[in-house]
Symmetry: C2
Subunit: 356 residues, 2 copies
């Protein structure tokens, strides 16, 4: 009888009602082709992912697609801890892939989900993760239509890893690529930086912060749709995940062969996030977000772009810089509050591992 069960006030009996085939944790056979694997599908995955009437097939799903170009993307999620203020691995796995489609100017048609479970992983925790994914998908207006589960031996995994892939339809007329950047384009961010990395980091053993910082983890596809629907000529989009604002802009600058200029005084950063970064010696420009992106738009369209973002729920949209001039290899320059200039580079090591 687990402590959890007593706490939940469940009736005493020979088997926990949350168990699958009598197992309260994952066993190797949950990943086989037999009865336990079937029971796991029927007890945990189907009820969550078919709530909207979609059938999760084993070999694959078939669906009608509107004409026009498709976007396709994938990400694996290995974040630790699994649950953190403002989100969890399930929300990340769904919204992260929806956001990657949005960065291609695409709205999601369907998602897949692949689980790698470690023998001994709690069935109750798996249910919680799966239900969070289902809720996140509902919120983003997309279905998880196909999936897969593998089980690895104890010590060959870390509870649960999730891969999602997404297929989306590119919004008519959208043509989004670093190659479309032009000198004079404005760089607009949809909200404050570095929340997600700090939210996850400060939940790890060894950190004791009084006030939890919420992750910025969010579905931004509605914000992208709003920009495009407002007729903004979006040249490029990039979500500020691994590597944060700096690494992502350096990559875009390199791809475009252009110099980008950022104004430090314009960068949105919450006081409490800045304080933790200073305490830990982290540069917030390199800390990952999971619900923040930059849009490159013609300078003349900044006011309507900010209005569109605000109208779609972006927390604090703001212009943070501009595309200045051609520059072979690309360059990102930060103009500091006191007028000095700093060249931003790719980070050489990794500041914060397993934050997504």
């Amino acid at each position: 009888m687990s402590a959890e069960r007593g706490q939940a006030g469940l009736p005493e009996g020979p088997q926990c009602p949350l168990a699958v085939g009598g197992h309260e944790v994952i066993v190797m056979a949950h990943g086989g082709g037999g009865r336990l694997a079937r029971q796991l599908l029927e007890a945990v995955f189907f009820p969550a992912f078919e709530a909207d009437g979609t059938r999760v097939h084993h070999d694959g799903a078939v669906f009608a697609a509107p004409p026009g170009p498709l976007a396709f993307t994938t990400d694996s999620y290995v974040v630790r801890p699994l649950f953190f203020p403002g989100g969890d691995i399930g929300k990340l796995a769904v919204w992260g892939t929806v956001n990657d489609l949005a960065m291609c100017g695409a709205l999601p048609l369907a998602l897949s989900a692949g689980f790698i479970l470690e023998e001994g992983f709690s069935m109750a925790t798996l249910r919680r993760v799966v239900q969070s994914m289902a809720a996140a998908a509902r919120q983003a207006g997309v279905s998880i239509v196909t999936g897969d589960t593998k089980v690895v031996e104890r010590g060959c995994g870390d509870g649960v890893y999730i891969n999602t892939a997404g297929v989306g339809r590119v919004v008519a007329g959208a043509d989004i690529s670093p190659r479309r950047l032009q000198p004079g384009d404005a760089i607009v961010a949809n909200g404050d930086l570095a929340r997600h990395g700090i939210a996850v980091l400060t939940q790890r053993p060894g950190f004791e912060f009084e006030n939890a910082i919420d992750s910025d983890c969010a579905d931004v596809s509605g914000q992208v749709r709003a920009l495009l629907a407002a007729g903004i000529e979006v040249h490029c989009l990039r979500d500020l995940t691994r590597g944060g604002l700096a690494a992502n802009l350096v990559e875009i600058a390199a791809g475009a062969g252009l110099r980008l200029r950022l104004e430090e005084s314009a960068l949105p950063l919450a006081d409490e996030v800045a304080a933790v970064c200073e305490l830990l010696g982290l540069d917030p420009l390199y800390v990952a977000c999971e619900g923040r992106f930059v849009a490159f738009v013609p300078a003349a369209q900044v006011p309507p772009a900010l209005a569109a973002l605000r109208g779609a729920g972006a927390p604090c949209p703001v212009m943070i810089g501009e595309v200045s001039a051609a520059c072979p290899g690309g360059q990102v320059i930060l103009r500091s509050r006191i007028g000095g200039e700093r060249l931003l580079d790719m980070p050489s090591g990794e500041q914060l591992p397993r934050i997504c």
Copy 2:
């Protein structure tokens, strides 16, 4: 200086030419958003997956899709050992997903690949796996257009896990589903059973078999295309992966509410595979294949179906049974060589973990 390097006769020098950013094994920063992650993409993934001119984007890929319904599928691959007679994790990861699309009557448009790497994993082995994936994709006429890499700490993984997802276009007119099964349909298999599971199992430490058995691991999409092109009215398809012939047919019978009858004397099984199964006490009907499938077709179309499969390179296509009658809950019955009948059931445990 590694032994491998000396053996390969490479020139002496401060750094192995197969290293990435000076590292001959995966380090945590290869999974970050910084310079090492970029170097891993440029040294290992892009050269393999862009050989055909396709650009692997970071956030996602965009491609034109012909009109008509799409199929979408995903699988994670955790097989051990990574390399086995007749295949490796890379081939499985590509062909397994191509085959799942084929089982929907779809030909592949694009694949994604997500890697979960364990800190300390050999860069040379990763290159070998990635090159095998690229070769398998070329052979199947599909590109890996988008991907992702995560790195987990030593002891939180097992070298490499791969997830692939695939998008395909359903062949015009194909309508493939257990619901389309009809009494009188013939069950046709494309080749001999149980090779893959036995090939992998007998490579594990502790087994010493003189003659290696080759996995049946293969791309079967050409065989499915041949069936459809020959005008065969294919009612359902199922590849015989986890759980083997028996578990997959039990699942189909249940989905269709029909009784299936198999003739033991018709089941194709290589002598050496039968011998190993007998020695180890394994039932070959439950051992997984990775290049074998069954097709449910009208009885009158068996000869042209077998001819189409043979023409497309199926190793030994044969009719193995038939759909007999309605049966609530479904049933699969095996008629033995001496005329007895055996009811096949779902396996309750797992015979062979991590064979895919």
